[in-house]
């Protein structure tokens, strides 16, 4: 019969039979384990190490976009989600877009109260997971931001950059070191990394200045005066023939490569990123130092906040009690609080852990600075993070606003604050209108 039918049919039939047998016969995933979703490779590595291959928890790694879609899809439709969901705030907040009864996370408020945990948690760490006074997640972090800078280069030039108290001073002092060093016609060293692709950079700068993107009632305040000022001054860093800021990818291999090669002298570095530097930019061992962020004005806030993660449980989970025990353990055990710092460089939001000597250990990668302590010193001034479901949208819009302001500024050849400000204001008005427009559409809230 074979010559009657195409060879392709034969091949594909064989493939179908073989793969069907494989798919049908393969052992199903370990069903006795608690499934734990996380979104970064580092987290997965560490939790796998903590639990070991025989442990009760199976730690799975999901890409952010897939995470968001699968989490929501699971909440919407009852298809399987993890027993423990470790989730970034931009994704978590999507769960409260709909009606309150549709929030897929378990309301943890009463449990937290019963365990007496509420007072122990650093208050700003709790806000992103609080909706209408109810708490849907355990905060994982504090995430103060410092500035990581190339101490080797500044030292060699005899510049004590740690003395820079404001961004203006920082840029001024860095000026002699940047520009077209190789003479190939394009700038190959910048002072600071500021992403125009990812909203996180500009949001961090705005929050540092004290502008909240959403007010207490979670209404957008994106075109507030302070935001206009920050956007204008940030755009200004990209102006002229020798801009001081560079837009490089934050999380890709190319981005790490460029930081390692010295394209920028400094970048904003929350606690978790201090570990990413060590992991992905081995070449800078002993060459980086950390300092508090230069303030916008003298005496202003020297830190900001970047990121935020919670541990949540699905409302319809089948093994809620076991999972609750696990996350409680992850949180309240001082040992794990310590491990979290040692392995992940993430400060625990539990204030009673903060005295632990583990935070005072010198870190050889950062020229033996006790970086845990340095971050902790800033923990009290970390700005609050909004729980608004529109935050991720607003953040992306702000990145676009920065990008557009910079582009139009460069097209017009502007370098002066007074010239750029109207551009920035217009963009922020647009962002505000877009967010309001989107919010007005939601009939569930």
């Amino acid at each position: 019969m074979f010559e009657r039918y195409p060879l392709g049919l034969l091949v594909i039939l064989m493939v179908a039979v073989a793969s069907a047998a494989f798919v049908a016969l393969r052992p199903s995933a370990d069903s006795d384990k608690l499934v734990f979703w996380t979104f970064t490779q580092d987290h997965q590595d560490i939790f796998r190490e903590i639990y070991g291959p025989e442990g009760i928890v199976d730690v799975q790694l999901l890409d952010m976009q897939a995470f968001e879609r699968r989490m929501l899809s699971g909440f919407f439709t009852g298809t399987p989600v993890a027993d423990i969901i470790m989730v970034e705030r931009s994704v978590a907040s999507q769960a409260w877009r709909g009606p309150t009864e549709a929030i897929g996370f378990l309301d943890l408020t009463d449990r937290l109260e019963a365990e007496g945990l509420l007072d122990r948690i650093n208050a700003p760490s709790q806000r992103p997971w609080t909706v209408d006074g109810r708490i849907y997640g355990l905060p994982f972090d504090v995430h103060p931001v410092m500035l990581a800078y190339r101490a080797d280069i500044y030292d060699a030039a005899g510049i004590d950059i740690a003395q820079a108290e404001t961004w203006d001073e920082f840029m001024e002092m860095s000026r002699p070191l940047i520009g077209d060093l190789t003479g190939n016609g394009s700038v190959d060293r910048f002072a600071l990394e500021v992403s125009q692709m990812d909203g996180l950079s500009i949001v961090m700068l705005m929050q540092q200045a004290g502008a909240d993107l959403f007010d207490e009632a979670d209404q957008p305040t994106l075109n507030a005066e302070l935001n206009v000022e920050v956007l204008t001054r940030t755009a200004q860093w990209f102006s002229g023939d020798e801009p001081v800021a560079a837009d490089i990818p934050l999380f890709t291999g190319a981005g790490e490569r460029l930081r390692g090669e010295g394209l920028v002298l400094a970048w904003m570095c929350p606690d978790w990123r201090a570990r990413r530097n060590i992991l992905y930019i081995e070449g800078l061992h002993g060459k980086l130092r950390l300092m508090p962020l230069p303030a916008w004005e003298k005496g202003g806030r020297r830190t900001s906040v970047w990121g935020g993660t919670m541990l949540g449980l699905p409302k319809n989970g089948e093994r809620t009690e076991e999972a609750w025990e696990q996350i409680l353990h992850l949180y309240t055990s001082p040992e794990l609080g310590r491990t979290k710092w040692e392995k992940l460089y993430i400060l625990s939001p539990f204030k009673d852990f903060w005295d632990d000597p583990v935070f005072d250990q010198p870190d050889p990668y950062y020229q033996n600075q006790p970086i845990g302590r340095l971050y902790l010193e800033l923990a009290d001034s970390v700005p609050e993070r909004t729980p608004s479901v529109y935050f991720p949208f607003a953040a992306q819009q702000l990145a676009d606003a920065l990008h557009r302001t910079v582009r139009r500024m460069r097209q017009s050849g502007f370098t002066e604050y007074a010239d750029i400000e109207p551009l920035a204001r217009r963009e922020l008005d647009r962002v505000q209108a877009n967010v309001e427009n989107l919010m007005s559409r939601n009939v569930f809230q």
Partner: protein
């Protein structure tokens, strides 16, 4: 006969074609080489890592580490099996049902024939993205989310295939032959399998491959309908890999190579069949 053009023009044509060949192949070669490089060498060398100072390729620096990581710690073997399963089962079913439908419309007179023909043409016009949201809802209501059934069922009888098979069978399958077989007492099913299908053999081969390729490369449906990681096909897995291992370009390249290589091999094997079937359908249609 038109004369052969001058050598100069011939040379020029070859040069242009060579240029396009290079453009076509360079990304693929670059990807393939990248899959065997460490992350350090990925940025250090555009293509092969070279020996110190010389121009010779330093083969020793190439590594299988990326593939090892994909298969041993990331379960890529599983994703490959899933892709093969989905693509092969979908393409066999779709080809069978499309051929059946095309045969009915091409070679039978029956009440409602014109209506069915209209229905097929209508179904071709409806763009797939329009159905994405309602089909998701339907699959949810049928309790088929996160199952392969939910993915395969809607793709099982493509209208486009019915149309192609009808066009192919209209003139190539002689009605007298069918009548003769019927007089001999052949059942309709047997006639279809033993007489009709072999006649449109190129179309069968081509359509199998078209649907195989389409399913293999389909991203949006499995992305939306599947939930459990162990069920993902390569297309969904690679998007995931890109997000989670965003710093490891060697690994990403290796994952992409693994995803592309099987279909490439399959098509090298079957390319004549595919290309002739593909274009014959279009030319007749």
């Amino acid at each position: 006969m038109i004369d052969r053009p001058s050598n100069l023009i011939q040379l020029l044509v070859y040069a242009v074609l060579a240029f396009f060949t290079v453009i076509t192949l360079v990304p693929l070669v670059w990807l393939l080489v990248g899959a065997f490089k460490t992350n350090e060498d990925f940025f250090g060398y555009l293509f092969f890592p070279l020996k110190e100072g010389g121009l010779a390729i330093d083969w020793a620096r190439l590594t299988l580490e990326n593939f090892r990581g994909l298969f041993f710690s990331l379960n890529f073997g599983n994703y490959i099996a899933n892709s093969f399963f989905l693509a092969s089962v979908t393409s066999v079913l779709a080809t069978l049902f499309a051929a059946m439908g095309g045969y009915a419309l091409a070679k039978f007179q029956f009440a409602g024939r014109q209506l069915m023909l209209g229905v097929v043409l209508f179904a071709i016009i409806i763009p797939a993205p329009l159905l994405l949201a309602p089909v998701f809802q339907l699959i949810y209501q049928l309790n088929l989310l996160n199952t392969y059934t939910g993915l395969i069922l809607p793709a099982m009888a493509p209208a486009f295939g019915i149309f192609l098979f009808r066009q192919a069978m209209l003139n190539s399958v002689p009605t007298e032959l069918l009548e003769a077989a019927r007089i001999d007492g052949c059942g309709e099913g047997r006639i279809f399998l033993t007489i009709v299908l072999p006649i449109v053999r190129p179309m069968v081969g081509a359509f199998l491959l078209i649907t195989f390729l389409g399913t293999w490369n389909n991203f949006i449906m499995p992305q939306v309908l599947l939930q459990s990681e162990e069920m993902f096909p390569l297309s969904v897995a690679i998007a995931q890999l890109r997000g989670t291992y965003s710093t490891d370009y060697g690994m990403i390249s290796a994952g992409t190579v693994i995803s592309i290589a099987p279909v490439m091999c399959l098509f090298l094997l079957l390319q004549r069949e595919f290309i002739s079937g593909l274009t014959s359908g279009a030319v007749k249609g």
